[in-house]
C-alpha cells in the first residue's frame, strides 16, 4: 500500500548571523513498505528523523531523492487534484492533542471540515455532514452532545479522540499515528490504544505508528522498524525484534527500555 524507496532528505546549509551551519542529512536511503491492514511501528529517539519521514509521506515536504509510492502511484508526480484526493486517503493523528485542534473552532466544525473539503468525493450535504460527524464521535467514544463544544472543554484523552474522528472523516485507508499517546497518562493511553485497535478491526485501516515508546509499539504493531540518525537500523516482525534484536543499536535500545517488572 505504501512504499518508501531510497528516500533521503538533506536540509541545506543555513547562513546565520554569526556564521553558517553545515547541511543536515535527516533521512538517508530509507526503505520501508506497509501492506494493507497491517500496523508498522517506527521507533526512534529524538532527532532520529521520524518526524521528517512523516512530513515526506504527507507531502508536507519533498524528499531530496528517492520516491514514495501510495497504492502504486508516485506521490511526487501527483497533480494538485490528485494530491487533494490523496489527502483524503492518508490521514494523520499528531502527538499533542492540545496543539492539534484549532481553539477557535467547535468540534462540529473540526470534524466536518475534511468532509467539506472533500465534498466532491464524499458527496455529503450539510446535514449529512453533521450526522456523519455525530456518528464519528460515537465511533471514537464521544457523543453528539459534544458537537458544539470547543476543544478547551475536553481532557487530553478526549481531544485525541476528536483528532481521531477528524482523521477518519474523509474515509482514509492509511493512518499515520505520530506519537498519538505520548502526551497522555497511562490509563488514558490504554483507552486510546484499544480504540485504535478496535477501529482498525472495524474499518480495515492500515497504521503507520510512530513512537519512542517501545512498550506501546510492541502492544500495537505487527512489524517494527528502528530508525537512528536518519537510517533504518533494523526491520522485522515485532516478536522477532523484541526477542532477538540483530543490530547493536536495537539491542541497546531494548536494554534501556524501562519495563515494569519485579526487580531481582
Amino acid at each position: 500500500m505504501l512504499e518508501i524507496e531510497n528516500v533521503s532528505r538533506t536540509f541545506p546549509a543555513r547562513r546565520g548571523l554569526f556564521g553558517s551551519t553545515g547541511g543536515v542529512r535527516a533521512l538517508n536511503q530509507v526503505n520501508l513498505s506497509v501492506s494493507k491492514g497491517e500496523s508498522l511501528g517506527l521507533v526512534g529517539e529524538s532527532g532520529s528523523g521520524k518526524t521528517t519521514l512523516t512530513r515526506q509521506i504527507l507531502r508536507l515536504d519533498t524528499p531530496t531523492s528517492g520516491r514514495i509510492l501510495f497504492e502504486g502511484q508516485d506521490m511526487a508526480k501527483l497533480g494538485p487534484a490528485a494530491l487533494r484526493a490523496l489527502r483524503a486517503r492518508v490521514q494523520i493523528v499528531f502527538q499533542d492533542p492540545y496543539a492539534s485542534l484549532n481553539p477557535r473552532m467547535s468540534v462540529h466544525d473540526i470534524v466536518t471540515e475534511p468532509m467539506l473539503i472533500h465534498r466532491g468525493k464524499l458527496g455529503l450535504d450539510r446535514r449529512q455532514r453533521t450526522d456523519r460527524a455525530a456518528e464519528l464521535l460515537e465511533l471514537v467514544g464521544l457523543g453528539p452532545q459534544h458537537l458544539y463544544r470547543h476543544p478547551h472543554e475536553f481532557s487530553g484523552g478526549q481531544r485525541q479522540r476528536i483528532c481521531i474522528a477528524r482523521a477518519l472523516a474523509p474515509g482514509p485507508s492509511l493512518l499515520l499515528l505520530d506519537e498519538p499517546t505520548s502526551a497522555l497518562d497511562v490509563s488514558v493511553q490504554a483507552q486510546v490504544l484499544n480504540l485504535l485497535i478496535d477501529l482498525q478491526e472495524r474499518l480495515g485501516l492500515t497504521y503507520f505508528f510512530i513512537s519512542h515508546d517501545l512498550g506501546v509499539i510492541r502492544y500495537i504493531c505487527d512489524r517494527v522498524a528502528i530508525i537512528f540518525q536518519g537510517e533504518i537500523k533494523e526491520e522485522g516482525r515485532t516478536q522477532q525484534i523484541f526477542d532477538a534484536p540483530k543490530s547493536e543499536y536495537a539491542r541497546s535500545l531494548l536494554a534501556a527500555m524501562p519495563e515494569v517488572r519485579v526487580p531481582d
Binding site: 504527507l58 508536507l60 494530491l83 487533494r84 489527502r87 483524503a88 490521514q91 494523520i92 499528531f94 502527538q95 499533542d96 496543539a99 492539534s100 485542534l101 484549532n102 481553539p103 477557535r104 473552532m105 467547535s106 471540515e113 475534511p114 473539503i117 472533500h118 453533521t130 450526522d131 455525530a134 453528539p144 452532545q145 458537537l147 458544539y148 463544544r149 470547543h150 472543554e153 483528532c163 477528524r166 482523521a167 472523516a169 474523509p170
Partner: protein
C-alpha cells in the same frame, strides 16, 4: 436531536465571555479605563450638541468677553476670541476620536493585509514587503506624517491619510510575526494534511487565531493616534480652525501663557484623559485576550 445540542454552543460561548469578563473585572484600572472611554465616546456622539455655547463651536466670537477666567458661566474660561473653552473642548472630542479611529482602522487593515501576505507566502513576497515596512519603520512616524501632511496640504482627510501611511508598518510586523508563529502550529499542519487549500488555512485557521493581539494593539494605538493627531495640530499642519481640535487649540493658547493658562490647560487635559482611558482599556484587554502577556 443534534439541534438540541446547539444550546450547548451558546452556553459555552457565554461561559467563555463570563470568564473573560471576570478577568477583566479583576483589574480595577481597566474598568476605570472602560468608563473613561465610554465618556469619550459619549462626547464624541453628543459633544457638539451638548456644548453650552454651540455658536462658538461654529466659529462665532464674543470679543467683549476675551480671556475671562474660569467661572460658573464658563467653567473652563474663555479664549482670545471670547469663545467658551468648555464648548470648544467638548466639540473637539469627535474630531480627535474619529480621526484617531480612522487612522487605526486604515492602518490596521493595510497592515493586516501586508503582514498576512508576507507571513503566509514567505519567499520573495515576504522579503519585499518586509524590507519595505522596515524601511518605513526606520523613518520616525511623526516626521513621515508631517511630511505627507504638509505635502497634501491641511485638512481632516489629508491628515488621516498622512498618519495612517506612517501607521501600517507596525501592524504588518505584528501580523507577520503572528502568522509565522501560527503557521507552525500543529492544527495548521493538521488542516494542510486534510487537504485544506492555502486560502482556507489562512482565513479559517490562521487569521482567527491572531485577532486578539491585533485588537489589543488597536486599542492601545487609539491613544497614540489621538496623540499624533493632536501633535500635527500643535505644529500647525493638521486641522485648521475653526474646526475645534485640541492640538490646535493648545498651540494657539501657548502664546497666552502663563496669564491665561486655562486656554492651554483644559484642552491638554482633555487630550490626556482621552488617551489615558484608551490606554487603560487596552491594558485590560491585553490581560484578558493575550494569554502570553497575562501577569
Amino acid at each position: 436531536m443534534i439541534e438540541r445540542h446547539l444550546s450547548n454552543k451558546r452556553s459555552a460561548r457565554a461561559e467563555a465571555l463570563r470568564r473573560a469578563f471576570y478577568r477583566f473585572r479583576q483589574s480595577r484600572l481597566s474598568l476605570i479605563g472602560a468608563a473613561m472611554v465610554a465618556t469619550v465616546v459619549f462626547f464624541t456622539l453628543f459633544g457638539a450638541v451638548l456644548a453650552p455655547f454651540p455658536e462658538h463651536v461654529d466659529g462665532g466670537v464674543d470679543t467683549s468677553n476675551r480671556f475671562s477666567a474660569p467661572s460658573l458661566a464658563h467653567p473652563f474660561g474663555t479664549n482670545e476670541l471670547g469663545q467658551d473653552v468648555l464648548s470648544l473642548v467638548m466639540a473637539g472630542t469627535p474630531v480627535s476620536v474619529s480621526a484617531g479611529f480612522a487612522v487605526v482602522f486604515i492602518g490596521s487593515v493595510l497592515g493586516v493585509i501586508v503582514g498576512a501576505l508576507a507571513g503566509f507566502n514567505g519567499g520573495w513576497i515576504d522579503d519585499v514587503l518586509m524590507r519595505f515596512s522596515d524601511l518605513m519603520l526606520t523613518l520616525p512616524s511623526l516626521i513621515l506624517a508631517m511630511a505627507v501632511a504638509a505635502a497634501l496640504g491641511p485638512g481632516f482627510g489629508n491628515m488621516i491619510i498622512a498618519i495612517a501611511l506612517a501607521w501600517w508598518p507596525g501592524y504588518a510586523r505584528l501580523v507577520r510575526g503572528e502568522v509565522l508563529q501560527a503557521r507552525e502550529e500543529v492544527y495548521v499542519a493538521a488542516a494542510r494534511a486534510i487537504g485544506a487549500s492555502p486560502f482556507r488555512v489562512l482565513f479559517r485557521h490562521i487569521l482567527p487565531n491572531i485577532v486578539s493581539p491585533v485588537i489589543v494593539k488597536m486599542s492601545l494605538d487609539m491613544g497614540f493616534a489621538i496623540l499624533t493627531v493632536a501633535a500635527l495640530g500643535f505644529i500647525g499642519i493638521g486641522v485648521r480652525p475653526p474646526t475645534p481640535e485640541w492640538g490646535t487649540q493648545l498651540s494657539i493658547a501657548r502664546s497666552y501663557m502663563p496669564d491665561f493658562w486655562w486656554t492651554a490647560v483644559f484642552p491638554g487635559l482633555a487630550m490626556f484623559m482621552a488617551v489615558f482611558g484608551f490606554n487603560l482599556l487596552g491594558d485590560g484587554l491585553r490581560d484578558v485576550l493575550d494569554p502570553r502577556a497575562r501577569r
